[in-house]
Symmetry: D2
Subunit: 424 residues, 4 copies
């Protein structure tokens, strides 16, 4: 299923007047409106291939209907999302769930939907059928060299698939850790991980990056071998210039000041990018912006400030990706909400009056600094996001369009009610 | 110092055109605009007498200038706040920091500023000079009947002062708890607390309420005898109809769903009211809405829904008060920001399309339910809050006015640079 | 597989001398040694039927070998545990995973192993094959009366199975909650839950109890309808005398003082019992005593004190059960470790010098109160636990025995290497 | 007041028989008993000068009697502690609270008590009387170069005092941070801190170290500029070989795996040492080992393993210090309890069967690894700690001795009931 331009135009046409009026209302107060719209227009967030099906927990999974049954159908879903919001022009594959059998054909299909391939992701947190050695006790950190070797080779294979699709980065998340005191020697586990990553690093093409993710707990509940940003940074630093630290918003202990970490990683040139989601407790993988949208804005505020300070291009210098689990929402709707939330936060951050903020900070005028941030945050930037989408040929209201066009209904007709996509 | 009407009118006049244009922009989309403005207009949040000076931590306190040196000057400060925002028509006293020596004169002074007296607060978490028995090991829960008696009498005395000022409630926060396992028998501590509260309850005038606050930790770091809403509820329930549970937003473990607690307390008829502040870690006592404004909105969403379901009047059925500590901001500015944040959250909650929300909930349409809440939340309601203030004779922009009028400068001139108000 | 008496005797004989020497060393300092041994001797902790297979997380499950393939084999496993430690004389069934097809035969089999049936557990957190209505959006709290009805009937059916096996309680854990703000009306969800529980309560036999569990989050990550002890207590109180609150140690926000909750529930006569496990982050379901054994001791200290104050029999007045997930350990070994940890904590609690503690508390002698608790805690009570096991015909060292007898090896021979038990 | 040898001998004599019997019981099972006793015998934990008075919170402080009124009396108190436990042979000074007016005399006094001077501590988290510029908005991270300069000079002055006393390290804890989003530019704050530390580093004598402490929050509640181990490590790494990271046990977000951090810092050669205390919530500064003694043991387990792997001397390679606040206990008793808890944890760690543990880890035998750790932990090592104290001329039971000798009573007689020591 692919959306036609006239379908989208027609929908937008119905809402055009109202939109124009709202847009004018907001835009009038914004001095850098063109710059904001331009930046919003080129900003894209990649969709992970494993996020197109209903997610679940250890307690169960309640699938919806019309889930993609193949990599081709996943690309089709991302194509639909991108057609609606014009902000999701890339897909991030997970190997081995999504091994492209025919890379040329897959690339052609993606291109047809205006998509390219973002970072590829390896998986050593599960055992695959017919896998020789088990990852029950970890992979790159494993006490047994043979298991490490198997995991290293898997990562190198993932890079191989990625090259075929013109990806430029591999994203490594390790669940390696321990459930009980005594299970691991932390130092050896760390050193084994480093050695393993060094072998993968050695296999990286010249123009590739390796993104090292961290997470404090789950699925291991006593220690995780790459447990926080400091541990990831330590590894990335030892590995070299192509290695950097990937921030998943849900991978922090409660109370962590994530925006500060983002700022420091940017400062050190070691911020790889993001896995976006939201959470109230742990790695809850909820829709971006559904629990604490102000925190999301504060993160984007650091990103805009920090990237500008380094002359980095917002859209392309680091990786932008969603990583959420859609347990009670339609996966496509959930992703559309997430992308909207990200663009809203980005737009708000672009509205921050930096000159005034620097002055307030120089004066330790804390009240005013807060007023400046909240002036941007409280502005209703939805018309700006809509306008940027409109100018790119997307819809003014992606979720509304998804529903009006009965896209899920059509997918169910095509694919059936009982399909289950690969993923968690 | 007291603000003249023409001063405020002049300030508003300068901003009138811009305000009108913004207000019209937002109001056009709101069907129940009159109702919203009316409700905002009568909504007031009490200012605690101890919040008018610079706060501190155990590590130190960095006072500003021009802090009120007496109860009279505290009333003057609240009068200034109320003149600016027309939403702070009450002051909440803390005994023994603010014992009114001449209740008649104090009441007259308050009335002159358009103020009345909200709940009175007792203090058994510190020893006062010349106090006979120490609260080092607690007050109403104390193992020693004599200490309990002293604390009970103090509370009854607080009620006496409150009656003189026409307060209608006593707010009881106990720091009683323990720092180490073994220090306390939890059961006996609870039962002593109950007995003590029963004696205070017996001394309540007919038209009074007693509000029982809870807090998980600080200043005790192992247990607190009224540690969570369940423990407060248990006490309030045993005490009777005049007793209910006071919610301080900072008094929760990380991750607590406060809005759910609010909803259930309302359901049970046991929600006394609020101490508003914001926090990232514990009882940080930060400006309301400075850390997680969406949570504040969600709390107000429950309040509006729950009060409407019971036919309760929003403005008067429960207690609304700020309880924050202003360590790095001008206390008056901090309070003005807090009141604005509360009114913004309340306005957003009033905009929620309840009918649509109920339908979405009935359909388990989780995506739509989120859209409905965020439609209200993302609306820029500041022009509504400003309009409500304007109609009441307040300023369009209270903090801006405070600065333009150089109020702090004037207070410093009057009171001096090295004044320190009583409080924490 | 069933252990013979002589096998155990032989093992014990080898260690007898060393044990006797150690036991004498510790016992010499304990005035109430006979009482302690007697109490330890009659203390049993039930084993849940779902804990005999390898557990997992949403990220994967790495099964071991020789897992029980049927209810009969699960009973056999519990029989082995009980033969080794003489402290696990009951099994707690989970319906529908363990529906007894022939209750008479099942009871006979259990009796043959010296086992009876503890509380039965219902399951409305997953959809079963061919289930009419889905629990995707909850069960007893569901907005749709038909779903609630289905869940009520399931619970009543669970009671029916329990009666056949002479269980005396049903344990209800609901995952009902919401992932996003707006998804639920908290009040209606609570009231629906109450109504549903009332219908189940009405179906309880005269001599039965209903145990209402609480949990703050997972599998729902915004709200849980029975989220804390206060909410469970509120329900149990409204239901009546047969209803009480079940405490799962992992079901608390970080920092919760669980021992205080235990004390208060005992005080109110509303403590149903325990699901034991340990955790560092959330509901990690780790081996009891593996992360914070002092907390476990403090809980038992409250239990012993509180039950004694009410004249309750330790062994039988409330429910004792393990609820853990064995992701990286042999399930039987994990359960043996858990039971040992519980008995150690119980033994330590029995050693607390209550008279001295009360005196210290009356004097606010905090240092001494800590010394008294730690005097008991730091005592090496393992010889007491071993002696109690020995006197009951169990082994001195259950895990050592499990390994020496190569029990898992034998089970794998019997059942195969690729068996997977039902459960999480 | 100074304890005489015969006083201590007499006390020990009374308990000698019982002690010997207990010691023999435990020692019989320990193969490396001589090594353990030797290591315990040379292990000392420094006492901070600010910990000899009653601590408090922002809500109040309830002083006891007989608190030291001068540096001399503080030294006397540490002398008493050391006389009792023979494990506290150093004092750590806090400037400006304890500026030694006559260094020669102070050193002589300390030597008379068998004490020397551990790390000196600077204080830029409070304003001192007559201080030119305020630290309200931070010190080494301050936006204003003049404030940074003042703070740098203070630190250099602290080093000067330390040199006079033959300290060999300066310990820097900065409260620098922010209370509100927008208040700080994180990057600039970090870079200012680095520059400031570089100036202090440049002033370090050749044989000195600088220890950089971290803390997530309090007294700032939004961000702390050196907020976690990663940020401290980053600074220490940029500074050079003399800089390393100091771990205060209470300075972590809930759930942090502190022992893993300790292991990695040791691996990197960047572990400066410890500020010991315990906590349930945040920086509660409770008696060491009073809340989670197993965690303390796990930390020592990493220390012993990691130091042995590097051939580091346990007693002298890193800094050992207590940093607690004694709100409801006698400060000296609290410190004695803390030192005992540390020695117990250290002794337990020395008992871990490393060979067996490595084998278990190599086999991923998680059950056994736990058994090995808990075998050491559950051993009652108090007789070993007592024996080590006895052999050094200390008491078998320091707290008991403190009480029997009525030391506090004597101090009150000497110093009065209403003394208040400097500190928090």
């Amino acid at each position: 299923m692919q959306l036609e331009k006239y379908t989208i135009d027609e929908l937008n046409h119905q809402q055009a007047k109202k939109h124009q009026w709202r847009f004018n209302g907001v835009a009038a107060d914004i001095s850098n409106i063109d710059d904001v719209l331009k930046k919003l227009g080129v900003f894209n967030i990649a969709i992970p291939s494993w996020a197109l099906g209903t997610g679940g927990t250890r307690f169960g999974r309640f699938s919806g209907g019309g889930e993609p049954r193949s990599l081709e159908e996943k690309i089709e879903d991302v194509g639909l999302i991108h057609a609606l919001n014009k902000s999701s022009n890339a897909i991030s594959l997970h190997i081995p769930w999504d091994i492209p059998k025919n890379a040329v054909a897959i690339k052609a299909l993606a291109a047809q939907h205006g998509l390219h391939f973002d970072a590829v992701n390896s998986n050593t947190f599960q055992d695959q059928k017919d896998q020789k050695l088990s990852y029950k006790f970890g992979s790159l950190h494993h006490i047994d060299k043979a298991v490490r070797k198997q995991a290293i080779e898997h990562n190198i294979e993932v890079i191989k698939y990625g090259r075929q699709l013109e990806s430029k980065a591999i994203s490594v998340w390790l669940s390696d850790g321990s459930n009980f005191p005594g299970q691991l020697n932390f130092r050896k586990a760390f050193q084994n991980t480093l050695e393993s990553l060094e072998e993968i690093y050695a296999a990286l093409p010249d123009d590739w990056k390796i993104w090292v993710e961290y997470k404090p707990y789950e699925p291991n509940f006593y220690s995780t071998t790459i447990g926080d940003w400091g541990q990831s940074y330590l590894l990335a630093n030892k590995l070299g210039a192509k290695a950097s630290t990937l921030v998943d918003l849900g991978h922090h202990l409660q109370g962590t000041n994530i925006e500060q970490i983002v700022s420091l990683l940017l400062m050190e040139g070691k911020l790889a990018g993001f896995h976006f989601n939201d959470s109230k407790y742990g790695d809850d993988d909820l829709t971006v912006g559904s629990i604490n949208p102000y925190q999301l804005f504060l993160i984007f505020n650091e990103l805009v400030e920090g990237m500008d300070a380094k002359g980095m291009d917002h859209a392309t210098s680091i990786g932008w990706m969603i990583d959420a689990s859609h347990n009670v929402k339609d996966p496509i709707e959930d992703l559309l909400q997430s992308v909207q939330a990200i663009k809203i936060a980005y737009a708000q951050a672009l509205l921050v009056d930096k000159t005034a903020l620097v002055t307030a900070q120089n004066n330790n005028d804390v009240t005013l600094a807060q007023e400046i941030l909240q002036q941007a945050y409280r502005t209703d930037v939805r018309p700006l996001v809509a306008e940027a989408s409109l100018r790119n040929g997307g819809t003014l209201d992606p979720i509304g369009a998804f529903r009006k066009l009965n896209i899920r209904g059509n997918l169910i007709k095509e694919r059936g009610l009982k399909t289950v996509a690969t993923g968690l």
